[in-house]
Symmetry: C2
Subunit: 356 residues, 2 copies
């Protein structure tokens, strides 16, 4: 009457078989503690006879107080996050940064619904957490992390807490890009922004939306553009994707009489969409329309060398990883702000009819 009752051996079993105490067996395994070679060998032999696969990670992490896992919180579904090359690059950087820890990366998504989820941000066996593009709706989770004493680092997100932040010069960079457009002679510039709120509301840029903005990145980039083009308006996209950029640009470029001579897109994917929309309408880029992007990724299928504000995504991720390592070793980590560089490609030029 033992259906599948094959209880896995425990360290105690191994110890018993080897004729030593559990404590000694434990030392023989993990510790570099004072154990004679003979004993260690005997323990290992007993273990292999019993088919013991090493200490249970769960028990070990309970006792040790560390799980060897670093959580990465993505605001979107995993599928959505992976569509964004910038996120991938950051993840890459993070994994590089935490390499000295030898820790695993646990992908967590902020679904907002802690209900069913066995493992949410609030209840995951992680030693530290990296928040990617976190928004205020994570406030509760962040509070829970703080109470648990789990160190956290935020990439491009306003936490309002004492969490170190890894960011870039969104405002200054965009201003630099806008400045470049002005120098080319553009005066009539439209903007396609990233979403401002958690609901990802699409549509025209309104002051109301701006005031209730919960997305620092979008707000800062917009502010930077407006330092050069105070009157500039445009549309809010629902996400960073070619599709969204296409849709926004169709609206912006629909009326030939009110067409801007340049578009500032807040991401390269959006910019690619804008270019697609322009080509649909028979406009030449950059002759009829200049397009400026942001990110510095290579966009799938895009046949232009996009003029863009290249940000060091991998370095950002790496810095976040390094901050995690620092915090785990007790040092207080510092926030860091990276600088983006203007890459001039072939999607910007002087406006055809210089109106200035």
């Amino acid at each position: 009457m033992q259906p599948d009752a094959a209880p896995r051996p425990t360290l105690a079993d191994v110890a018993a078989r080897a004729g030593v105490s559990p404590s000694t067996a434990s030392l023989a395994f993990s510790g570099s503690g004072p154990v004679s070679d003979a004993t260690k060998e005997r323990v290992l032999a007993a273990a292999s006879e019993l088919g013991y696969a090493g200490p249970d990670p769960r028990a070990r992490s309970l006792r040790r107080g560390r799980s060897g896992i670093v959580g990465v919180v993505l605001e979107e579904r995993v599928r959505a996050a992976f569509l964004d090359p910038v996120k991938i690059q950051m993840l890459d950087g993070i994994s590089e940064g935490i390499a000295p820890l030898g820790a695993g990366l646990l992908l967590l998504t902020d679904t907002g619904e802690p209900g069913e989820h066995a493992v949410s941000i609030e209840s995951a066996p992680v030693d530290a957490v990296v928040l990617i593009g976190c928004s205020p709706r994570l406030a509760d989770s962040i509070e829970a992390l703080r109470r648990r004493g789990i160190p956290a680092v935020a990439i491009e997100g306003e936490t309002g807490e004492d969490i170190p932040e890894i960011s870039i010069d969104n405002l200054q960079a965009t201003r630099r890009g806008a400045e470049y457009l002005r120098q080319l002679g553009h005066t009539d510039v439209a903007i396609v922004t990233l979403p401002f709120d958690a609901a990802r509301t699409r549509g025209p840029i309104t002051e109301e939306l701006l005031r209730s903005s919960t997305a620092a990145t979008a707000s800062q980039r917009l502010a930077g553009a407006r330092e050069i083009f105070p009157e500039a308006t445009g549309r809010v996209a629902g996400a960073s994707s070619i599709e969204e950029g296409l849709e926004a640009a169709r609206a912006l470029l629909a009326d030939p009489a009110r067409r801007p001579t340049a578009v500032i897109a807040q991401s390269d994917l959006l910019a690619a969409g804008v270019i697609q929309a322009a080509e649909e309408l028979g406009l030449q880029v950059p002759a009829d329309l200049s397009v400026l992007g942001f990110d510095g990724i290579r966009v799938d299928g895009l046949q232009h060398d996009l003029t863009t504000l290249a940000q060091p995504s991998v370095a950002k991720g790496r810095a976040a990883g390094e901050a995690v390592v620092q915090m785990l070793s007790g040092e207080p980590p510092a926030s860091r702000c990276f600088t983006s560089t203007l890459h001039v490609g072939d999607t910007t030029a002087a406006p055809r009819a210089s109106a200035d």
Copy 2:
């Protein structure tokens, strides 16, 4: 003299404060056990007063025997894996497949060096594991998983164990693609393969390398091609990337006298590299050279509609995730084999000088 000694409250503390036993407090939190509303409320109040952030996941997973984490084993470094769109799609599918579990995804890499690593495949608090493109060098790890009783599913990998496999019709699909090339009139076909061994040896395809192959995918696709073109030879790439494809194709196409009229690449990224190499040499694709890929992804920067064998990557991942769910609920899971479809794009055509 308490430097930072602020020991986090435990469930016992909360229970004491609420004037109930730890067991009751536990029920108040997680269980839907028989606890009066009044008591539950009192416990929750005590918890919030103490700043208790909920049960410790480590302790909970020890007791429960489940961690709510599913491991995903990538053969390469995280950075490398994410460069491959196929892997991303699979990951996406996996996360979809295990959604009912509400489990987190732990990224693990098979570095081969368990030494420093705090969390390796062998010692990670996971409830189940998905192996992506696992090779025989994982044998030890797989054995450890088996001993631990951790269910595993393999995608495109020969495990040699009783692990369910999710695969595609590599051989038949490639044969279909090769058949298509033959119908177009090609007789002189070269092949660019994925690596055959863990060392990722580059160079010409040799029978010796084939015999010692540890990569089923590469072997099967090659075999499929040779069912149509038995004499076909070519080069082994060091990875699935445009760069590797470029390098391999440069070697293949270097000598104008011995140029094939078509190249069968074992991945779309390799195919893109082949096309790039051809264009470097002033060859027209498909007029001078037909190129066949494998995967059906959209390749970054490629200006062709690649003729390729499209495989359902997301579905594969989802199937793997579903298999995990099944195994965790006790049902014996089944292996599954998906079918690839030939997508005819604009990179294949009849050879210019039909030599047949």
